[in-house]
């Protein structure tokens, strides 16, 4: 699916609002100012997602994965490079750096942060688009990007697309690079874009 310029602008603005709330949540969690770059929004078939993701994260990544359901359903991921995830955990606790052998405490911290950030973002989507999302319990994976994406394709019974939302943010002067990815089936992606267009229409008519 290729987004038109107008659709892309509307999605970017909605994402900007949602990510700004997410940054505020992160700021509250860490007690530090969070500087947010303009989000980069694009849509890809799953098979083309890996090179696209490389613009934001590389190699080993810490992924918080949450499945959401409702009129628009899919998978939401918060991806952080390992160094960025380590900085984030360090800011929040003395749980230690999140490595593949990290302790339960650090994993718990990272999963909870991911849960809060993903819910802050999807919550804004839900409120503005007037749809209700339900969420599963977040799961943390420490893996390579390729493995993470490979797991997405297993069991996929329809052509799936990814709405890639990339955003770099800085916490207390130390760069934490990450991005959020939503993976939607074709029907959900159509509904999501349609809902955004309706929101944009309401916004300009009000």
């Amino acid at each position: 699916m290729i987004l038109s310029e107008e659709q892309k602008d509307s999605v970017t603005e909605l994402v900007n609002i949602a990510f700004s709330r997410t940054a505020a949540a992160l700021s509250e969690l860490t007690g530090n100012r969070v500087d947010l770059a303009v989000p980069d929004v694009s849509a890809y078939p799953i098979a083309e997602l890996l090179p696209a993701l490389g613009r934001f994260v590389r190699g080993e990544v810490a992924t918080v994965h949450q499945i959401f359901g409702g009129p628009v359903s899919g998978d939401a991921f918060l991806l952080l490079d390992i160094a960025g995830a380590a900085r984030l955990v360090d800011l929040l606790s003395d749980a230690g750096a999140p490595t593949t052998h990290m302790g339960a405490s650090a994993r718990e911290v990272l999963a909870e942060v991911g849960n809060i950030l993903l819910n802050a973002c999807l919550g804004v989507f839900g409120d503005l688009l007037q749809v209700r999302f339900t969420f599963t319990v977040p799961r943390l994976h420490l893996d390579s990007l390729g493995s993470m994406l490979g797991s997405l394709e297993i069991g996929g019974d329809e052509i799936r697309h990814a709405l890639l939302i990339g955003a770099r943010f800085h916490v207390r002067g130390s760069e934490v690079t990450g991005c959020m990815v939503m993976v939607l089936g074709v029907t959900s992606l159509d509904r999501f874009v349609e809902a955004i267009e309706n929101w944009a229409e309401r916004a300009t008519q009000s």
Partner: protein, 125 residues
Amino acid sequence: MAKILIVDDSALSRRVSRRILEPAGHTVAEAADGLSALETYSLDRPDLVLLDVTMTEMDGLEVLNQLRAMDPLAVVVMATADVQSSTRVLAEAGGAVGFVIKPLTAETVLRAVAAALLGQAGGAK
């Protein structure tokens, strides 16, 4: 009624702002980035600037600083989804006289614009 410059990298946001401001009798100009905003401001000298914060190349806080350096009396209202208190503090320190949270509504935008223009008339800046 005032001449207002809308600065936002989102065409949607500029459309929303225009739909709010024009029916209220204001004259509107638009800029999609910080550099264009500075050029337009120097040429048109609008009464008020409605300024987005999160933009590429030059963010709104930097645009604010450059606008105020160009014209210390520039009346600027920030329009942003960034609800961090630190952002509001930085905007106020930079000389912004108003702060509107996105998504924009007619009520909040017109109230902030009216207050900012009144502040200017009353010499409150």
